[in-house]
């Protein structure tokens, strides 16, 4: 390595640092490995091996991979619920080292508190952080309005449909005004029509709030319809990144727009091939 090379790589590093300070990258994963002691197996289990990718400000990145590949585990590491063993994990430029308020997780199941009304579910995080009452009321009202649940504010979760529960789940996460919104297969338990409607809703809200989103899914078409960039992971355990792909279908689109875009089909196909490749490698092992 020549001196020129070294200095160039140094200046690149400096550039990367500046970028993170500017808040251009909301998430930087650099060589991240995640594992935990699995009580079921009675041994250490490596879920994710040496994963590197980033999420740019105001972008929506989808993480896809076969089930059990550690996608959800990765999300939990990002929001600090699980420790990562190796590598650098930065949210908004700062290292992740425990649960943090600037990341909100939208769960696969609505995870609502059944004894709280919709409104008090949405305000839950704010209440925990002892935000002044007046402010809670105002933010919660805005969020309920945004997801179209204003009329259902006083209902209990069991009185809502699955789609409405998931809207409440989303509103609760958004109420924290997070730097990074993490979504764990948020639409997988819904019927196709509701899924599309909520997908559009998500895209609309994202245009409205400029929210940066990292979403985990195992549905290739959902990833293409919603995301700006897709990161593909291989089979677990110890899954690695197989590749990533930009989705140049334009901002402010709807799910239906994506489906009718001329490159939609080829994008879905190449992602499927990428997934199949990683599966084939796994079989060969």
């Amino acid at each position: 390595m020549t001196i020129a090379d070294t200095s160039r790589s140094l200046s690149l590093e400096a550039a990367a640092d500046r970028q993170s300070l500017d808040g251009k990258l909301k998430l930087q994963a650099d060589d991240v490995s995640i594992g935990y002691f699995s009580e079921r197996r009675g041994s250490y289990f490596e879920a994710m091996h040496s994963l590197s990718f980033s999420v740019a400000d105001e972008s929506l990145v989808a993480l896809i991979g076969p089930s059990g590949c550690g996608k959800s585990t990765f999300l939990r590491a990002v929001c600090g619920l699980l420790p990562h063993q190796y590598g650098d994990l930065r949210v908004d430029g700062s290292m992740v080292s425990g649960p943090r308020a600037d990341c909100s997780l939208v769960f696969q199941s609505p995870a609502l508190l059944p004894w709280r009304t919709v409104e008090r579910n949405v305000s839950y995080g704010l209440e925990l952080r002892k935000v002044p009452k007046q402010e809670i009321k105002q933010i919660t009202g805005e969020m309920l309005n945004m997801v179209g649940l204003t009329k259902f504010a006083d209902r209990y979760p069991h009185q809502l449909s699955g789609g409405m529960q998931q809207r409440a789940n989303l509103a609760r996460a958004l109420a924290n005004q997070p730097v990074l919104l993490l979504m764990d297969e948020p639409f997988s338990a819904l019927d196709p029509q509701t899924r599309d409607r909520l997908g559009d809703e998500l895209l609309r809200i994202r245009e409205l709030t400029k929210q940066t989103i990292l979403m985990v899914t195992h549905q290739v078409d959902e990833a293409v319809a919603l995301a700006d960039k897709v990161v593909v992971l291989s089979h677990g355990p110890g899954s690695v990144k197989t590749g990533e792909m930009d989705i140049p279908l334009g901002r402010g689109r709807t799910v239906e727009d994506s489906r009718h875009h001329k490159s939609y089909g080829s994008l879905v196909r190449s992602l499927r091939e990428m997934l199949a490749e990683s599966a084939a490698e796994e079989d060969a092992d």
């Binding site: 939990r76 909100s104 004894w115």
Partner: protein, 296 residues
């Protein structure tokens, strides 16, 4: 016309009825009658049936008891009869001894139950929340729960002597385990995703307990307390049988048994049952207060 239509609805119901309207014959599908063809007297009976049949069983038992006692098929000295039990109960509740018994048994029971609630809830919450604490107490609790704790009365008498302390200890020993075990199970069964959600929202441990674990485990805790009430009543009565000093429902029943006063025995039994019912009813009210969201 409408009268005849109604009549035919009632008579046939749910079938095609021919109606003469504006002089022509038209066919119309008529929905079946609302009450499923039942008269209102029948409906009223069907609604009351669960209570009526239940009461009927009790009445049969009481009548059989009374008749066999009056006819001398059984020895009145040992089995008494419903009317003498009622008379004895009427007399008993006017005596000073009754209020003394009620107070002694009630206070012993409440002290024992209160102690079991404090210990049981704290231990149960801790064991359910922390795997390590759970592992630590697991065998000790399981073994003690499996043991017939009523057999401990003699040793308790040795330790605490004749009197209320033995009663409190017995109530505690019988009531604490269902509370521990149900609380622990309740905490362990709190929806894992909801817990994770609360953690991701940066809930502190205290907030986690207050907003998720305690409300989430409440149904299980309440059924534990229900069991504890039943067990505790057994505990206080048995302790009074064996270690009662001068008052207490169990003590008075024991005295009555020694004097072949079967009516007094049954009267005591009824008072204890009523106490149990009242305690369970209070618990049901507490439960309803906290579980209002379920029915709304």
């Amino acid at each position: 016309m409408s009268d005849t239509l109604h009549a035919s609805r009632a008579a046939i119901g749910g079938t095609v009825v021919t109606v003469a309207a504006r002089g022509e014959q038209t066919k119309r599908v008529v929905p079946p009658p609302r009450q499923g063809g039942m008269s209102s007297a029948q409906l009223r009976y069907r609604r009351a049936e669960p209570v009526l049949l239940g009461v009927l069983c009790l009445v049969i038992v009481l009548v059989a008891w009374q008749v066999s006692s009056d006819a001398g098929w059984v020895n009145k000295l040992f089995v008494s009869s419903p009317t003498s039990v009622a008379r004895q109960l009427g007399h008993y509740v006017t005596t000073h001894q009754f209020w003394l018994d009620l107070e002694t048994t009630g206070v012993t029971f409440l002290e024992g139950l209160g102690l079991s609630l404090v210990v049981g809830l704290i231990l149960g919450l801790a064991m359910g929340f922390s795997k390590r604490i759970g592992y630590f107490f697991d065998y000790a609790v399981s073994l003690s729960y499996a043991a017939p704790r009523i057999a401990l009365v003699p040793i308790l008498i040795l330790w605490f002597g004749i009197g209320r302390t033995t009663g409190v200890a017995m109530v505690f020993l019988l009531a604490v385990f269902p509370i521990i075990i149900n609380t622990m199970t309740g905490v362990q069964n709190v929806d894992a995703t909801v817990l994770e959600m609360a953690r991701s929202q940066k809930a502190s441990t205290v907030q986690l307990f207050r907003t998720v674990i305690i409300p989430g485990s409440l149904p299980s805790v309440i059924s534990g307390i229900r069991l504890a009430i039943g067990n505790g009543l057994i505990g206080v009565i048995v302790a009074e049988f064996l270690a009662g000093s001068s008052a207490g429902l169990g003590y008075t029943m024991q005295q009555a048994a020694q004097q072949f006063d079967a009516a007094q025995l049954f009267a005591g039994l009824i008072v204890i049952s009523v106490l149990g019912l009242i305690a369970t009813q209070i618990l049901r009210m507490v439960e309803r207060h906290f579980q209002g969201w379920r029915t709304s």
